[in-house]
């Protein structure tokens, strides 16, 4: 497939999550033109998929959507969604990115987001946006506050029945769309490719995803979100309102046997947050957090942890070693209680949430001359004085791309990366408004 077109911007931001959007907006605010390249069909990253966020407990969507809308409407920001970076290299003063536009099979210009197609489509597919706990269709809009609000077809599950095409008021469905490659040149780039959660299948001792009521923390976020799969917290085994929920911390991080020796940094706080939210929605439920060290290090975090204790969330020091199905949908855990009279305990909970390790969302591999640290996250060269600096001149990094990071730290770092990028542009004679 030949390269179709070449786009030119002052800056390229790789990743349309909160760090990428923040970096893009900061660059655009200084009148530099920015392209945001996002691999998913919507911008918003992990944050738009969360319920509420610590330590303020404000609704994640309410904080993310304004930034998403600001980026979508900013005249200096171009959003390129459902695009995959193939390579990024420096050629003289320019960075050249080869990008693949994945086919949506829906014309982005024509689609008006009415979802008629989705309602008509006969195929159900586990909805990854809802942690697989409910279904979407083979043609679908990713989620309710997705930007762009446009449909796409998942060809793996499409049966080409043509119903979507028939019902679309704008003839936007196009089964014949093809992969398109294009190049994008920019003077500077910000890598904001974020993180992925370690797959549940990797954790043999915790049932490898085979126990319905053992879920990932991201699935729990969906259960807690107001527009989640069940619209309330129910256990996935049979729809029961759980009486007791357990959180297993360091379920894959700080664990050399899992190949993730580092701390995933956000799990303590989100587990505390989820427990707090549960104590609101299920006031009678027993909530237990099994932990090694509670790492409530950020502003207002320790007080948040203390509040959770005061609210009756149970904190048990000890790493859960083994999880197995109990009777009637319950989940049985084994851990060592460190109390003198403790020892190995076998306890049952209705629902178990795993704080799985965070892994890099993207690794450059051969696509680009950036290397990674021992933790596989993007390597930074001056972690103290210039945390956004990478090995490649003019390429900066922000957020979880250079290691697990919470939202606040990611946003701040995105500002720093954007500043470095602006400075880099200014030094090369790129003019902002003035």
């Amino acid at each position: 497939m030949g390269v179709q077109q070449n786009l030119k911007f002052d800056a390229l931001v790789l990743g349309g999550g909160i760090a990428g959007l923040e970096a893009a907006l900061n660059l655009a605010e200084q009148d530099f033109s920015v392209a945001v390249v996002e691999k998913d069909a919507s911008i918003g990253g992990k944050m738009i998929r969360l319920s509420k966020v610590f330590p303020t407990l404000d609704c994640s969507s309410c904080i993310t959507t304004p930034k998403m809308a600001a980026a979508a409407h900013h005249p200096k920001v171009t959003l390129l969604t459902y695009c995959e970076l193939q390579s990024l290299e420096r050629r003289g003063d320019e960075l050249v990115a080869l990008i693949t536009q994945k086919p949506r099979y829906v014309d982005l210009e024509k689609c008006i987001g009415c979802r008629q197609c989705e309602y008509q489509c006969p195929v159900l597919v586990p909805d990854a946006e809802q942690g697989g706990l409910a279904a979407r269709k083979a043609i679908y809009i990713p989620f309710s506050n997705a930007i762009p609000q446009k449909a796409l077809i998942d060809p793996e599950n499409c049966i080409l029945c043509g119903r979507c095409e028939k019902v679309c008021p704008t003839q936007a469905v196009d089964f014949f769309q093809k992969v398109e490659d294009f190049t994008l040149t920019a003077a500077t780039a910000v890598i904001a490719t974020g993180f992925e959660m370690m797959p549940l299948e990797d954790k043999v001792q915790y049932g490898q995803g085979q126990i319905p009521d053992v879920i990932t923390a991201l699935q729990m976020e969906r259960l807690l979100a107001p527009h989640g799969p069940y619209n309330r917290v129910l256990r996935p085994y049979d729809g029961k309102e759980p009486d007791s929920v357990a959180f297993i911390q360091c379920a894959g991080s700080r664990d050399q046997s899992m190949g993730v020796p580092y701390c995933s940094r956000v799990c303590c706080m989100y587990a505390i947050k989820q427990a707090m939210l549960l104590s609101g929605s299920l006031p009678l439920a027993d909530l237990t957090v099994y932990y090694l060290d509670i790492r409530a290090f950020g502003k207002g975090y320790e007080q948040f942890f203390q509040n959770a204790q005061a609210m009756g969330v149970n904190f048990v020091k000890g790493k859960v070693a083994y999880v197995e199905p109990g009777e009637g949908g319950a989940v049985r855990l084994r851990y060592e209680s460190q109390e003198a009279e403790g020892g190995v305990q076998v306890v049952e909970h209705d629902l178990v949430v795993l704080s799985l390790g965070l892994l890099p969302g993207w690794t450059p591999g051969a696509s680009c001359a950036l290397s990674t640290g021992a933790d596989n996250f993007i390597k930074t060269v001056k972690p103290k004085l210039a945390p956004a600096l990478t090995e490649l001149s003019g390429v900066f990094v922000a957020g979880a791309a250079s290691g697990p990071k919470d939202i606040v730290d990611s946003i701040v770092e995105a500002g720093a990366a954007a500043m470095e990028a602006c400075r880099y542009l200014a030094a090369r004679g790129f003019k902002a408004a003035g």
Binding site: C62, P66, S144, N145, H227, N231
Partner: protein, 136 residues
Amino acid sequence: MEAEKYAGKILILATETCAYPGADAVGQGHQSYPANTYLLRVKDPVLFPEKFYLDCFAKGVAGIIIMSCGVESPYPGSYEALARRIDRVYPLMKAKGLDIRRLRLTAICTVCTRAFVNEVRQMHDLVSELGPPGRE
């Protein structure tokens, strides 16, 4: 079918950062609610003086739901000022013989779809029960 059942108009003052997008989310979810509801987009309902509410009732509006951002308001202190104002509106309503339940102050966020529908349903039931303003 109760064709003659009174469905007085309900005014919803919805903040542009919280409740208005919340109402949009209800729409996206195709969650039906009574149609006698009129959303006005506002930056912050702290803008409206006591008189505004009384005038609305005088014009025939049967119920008003203020959907604010609550303490998460982008204008620090506005929610508290708003709450104090509404507290002053209630005695004025009583003085005019208006059931104070016709005016309700709530906080609705961008994804509070269930809360939105609940609030609307409750107010709808209330105004159906009370009839036109001033006749309670």
